[in-house]
């Protein structure tokens, strides 16, 4: 434990927290917040992102973009090393990205590189070279994209874009999977003790401002009730950082806010309802609007979430300040039963209509889902059929062509771009229907498809000027979420954490909702 690290030195201290077992901590397949926390601290890529989505250059000393947005040239900072002594150079990026996109890796995060030229060939196993990524020299990385993208630099904050040393080998190198050798502020002590713990220690040879903490102990917790355990652990003094079960939030806030141990932030994500656009009864914008109007977000936020969730009226999160439009979804702003009924009538959403309402079980959605269902029943007289499914089944059902009604869903940003919401959730290209099974393989499961919207996105992507681009994105969002009501925003992604500020300074929640380990220092 960290009990004996009371020394007042700024360097040192052990920070303890609980996580669930990550899928992977090797950048080739790091995906969820747990793995991201570890990988981000083991590896440093081109940029780092601030909690509000700003880029801070790390290995990228500079970046230049061609006018068509297709060619990106990054100057790599010289002289930094992996912890095994290998230099970090352009080649280590080429190596890493190829490793991710390779077919044999079957990486779940490879698709983030889908815009890079040669991805298809590499990912389908036609070649083992990544045509679009080139180390011009040790300090220069050149990336060619298939279509123009002026925000490609922002994407590289994803762990998949981290450099790896030669020692990494292929993606199935178990030794590296469990004990990655990185270039980050921390290095792993020993290797990943599955389901038990991961210990990080300070990388004293870090090429940037060194971490202050001597050690970070990540206890791996039972995924079934991590939040409860973290919270209990924090209260018992076992953890210095904790999430909380939603039901306990208000009590926890009362208890810890006065102590200054309460952290809250609206982060880069959205909770919404997928509405199946192509199937009755929600195949008209009016029907979808009726649903949206019928929901009293405020009441649920207050009653069910004890005020700990905030209603959302847009898809893009407030943390993306340049594109955020509060109230862009007019139906979301306030419950309006009259309008709801009127629109329902107009769209043939008669009382008694059966509305399937799906959600995935075991993730704490049971409660509010029932509240929404009740409101739809009360306001529109719909016969709402709650359909709780374990995750895999839920997903498979959502993907099905015949599925109708609404599903609970949420989206968290991978990187701070509007495109990261607007394309996957709403673009026609993101339906990606499997011709054989008719399943929507992309994330646009509501199968919203509006050529006008797609055009707006294309335009935005091809716009070099950031402000103009933001305007186009805003326009697209308004079209999909307001005019067409392709999906139904519910609440913002608001996150709460407890941090042991009695022992540590400068504890914050980062863009990925994790503690900013590299900046924390012991008191």
């Amino acid at each position: 434990g960290g009990g004996d690290d009371k020394g007042n030195s700024a360097d040192g201290g052990v920070f303890r927290l609980g996580i669930t077992e990550p899928t992977a901590i090797d950048p080739f397949n790091t995906q969820e917040s747990e793995g991201t926390l570890v990988t981000h601290n083991l590896f440093t890529g081109l940029y780092k992102v601030t909690p509000d989505g700003k880029l801070i250059p790390k290995l990228a000393e500079s970046a230049t973009t061609s006018d068509d947005g297709k060619t990106w040239t990054f100057k790599i900072k010289a002289g930094t090393k992996f912890t095994n002594g290998e230099p970090v150079d352009a080649e280590s990026f080429v190596r890493a990205w190829t490793r991710v996109a390779d077919k044999k890796s079957a990486s779940d995060v490879a698709y983030h590189m889908a815009g890079i030229e040669g991805y298809e060939d590499l990912n389908s196993g036609k070649t083992d070279k990544f045509a679009g990524v080139k180390a011009v020299d040790a300090g220069t990385l050149e990336v060619k994209l298939a279509t123009g993208d002026f925000e490609f630099d922002k994407k590289t904050v994803h762990t998949a874009f981290a450099p790896v040393p030669k020692a990494a080998g292929a993606a199935d190198n178990k030794a590296f999977n469990d004990a990655p050798i990185g270039n980050g502020p921390f290095k792993i002590e020993g290797s990943w003790e599955h389901n038990k713990k991961i210990t990080l220690v300070r990388n004293d040879d870090y090429g940037f401002e060194k971490a202050k903490l001597a050690k970070v102990e990540l206890t791996i917790l039972n995924p079934n009730n991590t939040a409860t355990l973290e919270y209990q652990g924090f209260q018992a003094g076992t953890f210095d950082w904790a999430r909380m079960p939603t039901p306990q939030l208000s009590v926890a806030k009362q208890k810890f806010e006065p102590k200054g141990q309460w952290i809250s932030a609206d982060t880069s994500g959205i909770n919404y309802l997928v509405a199946f656009n192509t199937n009755a009864p929600l195949n008209t914008p009016d029907a979808r609007k009726a649903i949206s109007y019928a929901i009293d977000r405020e009441a649920i936020a207050k009653g069910v979430f004890q005020g700990m969730q905030k209603p959302a009226s847009s898809v893009l999160p407030p943390s993306f300040a340049d594109v955020y439009q509060e109230g862009v979804c007019t139906t979301c702003v306030k419950q309006d039963t009259a309008k709801a009924k009127e629109l329902a009538e107009k769209s043939g959403l008669k009382p008694g209509t059966v509305l399937d309402f799906g959600y995935n079980t075991g993730s704490g959605h049971e409660e509010w889902v029932q509240a929404v269902a009740q409101q739809l029943k009360d306001v529109l007289g719909l016969e709402v059929k709650l359909n709780g499914k374990p995750f895999k089944e839920a997903l498979s059902e959502q993907q099905d062509k015949k599925t109708a009604g609404i599903w609970r869903s949420a989206w968290g940003a991978d990187y701070p771009t509007a495109d990261n919401f607007l394309f996957p959730l709403l673009a026609t290209g993101s339906i990606n229907e499997d011709p054989a099974t008719g399943k929507a393989q992309g994330d646009n499961r509501g199968r919203y498809s509006n050529p006008e919207y797609d055009k707006l996105l294309d335009q935005a992507r091809a716009t070099k000027d950031a402000a103009a681009r933001a305007a186009l994105y805003k326009q697209a969002e308004k079209l999909a979420v307001d005019t067409d009501q392709a999906l139904i925003p519910l609440w913002k992604r608001t996150q709460y954490r407890l941090a042991n500020t009695a022992k540590f300074n400068n504890v914050q929640m980062d863009f990925f909702e994790d503690p900013n380990l590299a900046e924390i220092s012991a008191k």
Binding site: N225, A227, T228, P245, T246, P247, Q248, V251, D296, A299, I300, K302, G303, V304, Q306, T361, G362, G364, E366, E367, Q370, A371, A373, Q374, L386, G388, P390, E393
Partner: protein
């Protein structure tokens, strides 16, 4: 209650008569008729815990039947302006996270409990009795095959097997009932089989065969009635177990749909309120415990009452 006390008194007076009958039957012929059921009832009623159990079970049944009359509110009615309200005169047991009246939900919860508990055990007993009887009476290859099949199901831990089935069938009351039954029948079958094995060689069975009785008659009239006692007691006892298992499934998120007023659901919803809103899990727990205790007591009482050796 008056009923019960009365019957206690009744059999209380009947008993010495029975004793006298055994002893001096030849002397005085006019003795009150004492049936076997009377005897069993007497032994059962004399067992205080069993009576307590019976009362609990009776209360449960009545509550289930008259739930709409007893519940002060609609168990589905949400009041988002009054969520997580502590117990008060308006809501005796408080409200849950959706502002639903907990008391009403607990009352309605008896229905699922009764339904699942009885139906699953009934089903399990039916399968178990048929298979156990066949296995025990015919022995040999029939026995081996049936018992290996029983072993397969017996070797699956109940909850695990149930989860797999529910996954395949979807959530709902029926899948829960079926999955509980599918993994409980082997116990019944084994129980019945072993008592049949001992009864099968009893002299009275030989006697019946000597009279020319056929197989079905022997099984139905002689073997089953004499070996079913253990099964009945086990069944009563297991109804409690099934209710707990069903609640466990809901607790694990694979039981009946969460809006359904059901105790396991209530507990699952309440477990995160541990230490904050304890009444949310305390009351459903009490409901489960009392129900299970009721059936356990009844089962125990039945076992003792049906066993003429135990006095």
């Amino acid at each position: 209650m008056t009923e019960l006390t009365k019957s206690t008194a009744d059999s209380g007076t009947a008993e010495p008569a029975a004793g006298a009958a055994t002893a001096t039957a030849n002397a005085e012929p006019a003795v009150a008729r004492i049936t076997q059921w009377g005897e069993i009832r007497h032994r059962f009623v004399a067992n205080k815990l069993a009576v307590v159990g019976l009362v609990l079970v009776a209360v449960l049944f009545l509550t289930a039947i008259f739930a709409p009359l007893l519940a002060p509110q609609d168990p589905y009615h949400q009041d988002l302006t009054n969520t997580l309200a502590d117990p008060s005169s308006a809501h005796w047991l408080g409200t849950d996270a959706l502002g639903r009246d907990q008391f009403s939900r607990i009352i309605f919860g008896t229905r699922i409990a009764v339904e699942v508990g009885l139906a699953s055990i009934f089903l399990a007993c039916t399968i178990g009795i048929v298979i156990g009887a066949l296995s025990g009476y015919f022995g040999k290859a029939t026995d081996s095959v049936l018992m290996r099949i029983a072993d397969v199901f017996f070797a699956f831990p109940l909850i695990i097997g149930a989860i797999v089935i529910i996954m395949a069938m979807g959530r709902g009351v029926m899948p829960v009932i079926i999955s509980l039954a599918v993994f409980s029948w082997p116990t019944v079958a084994r129980l019945l089989r072993s008592s049949i094995l001992s009864v099968r060689e009893a002299d009275y069975v030989h006697a019946a065969r000597a009279l020319g009785a056929g197989t079905s008659r022997i099984i139905i009239r002689h073997i089953i009635p004499n070996s079913i006692a253990a099964v009945m007691a086990y069944a009563a006892f297991s109804v409690g177990g099934a209710i707990v298992a069903e609640a466990s499934l809901s607790f694990l998120g694979v039981g009946v749909s969460p809006e359904v007023p059901e105790w396991g659901n209530m507990l699952a919803g309440a477990k995160d309120f541990l230490g904050v809103k304890d009444y949310l899990w305390v009351y459903p727990s009490i409901a489960i415990v009392l129900t299970v205790l009721g059936f356990v007591f009844v089962g125990d009482g039945l076992r003792d009452a049906l066993d003429p050796k135990l006095r």
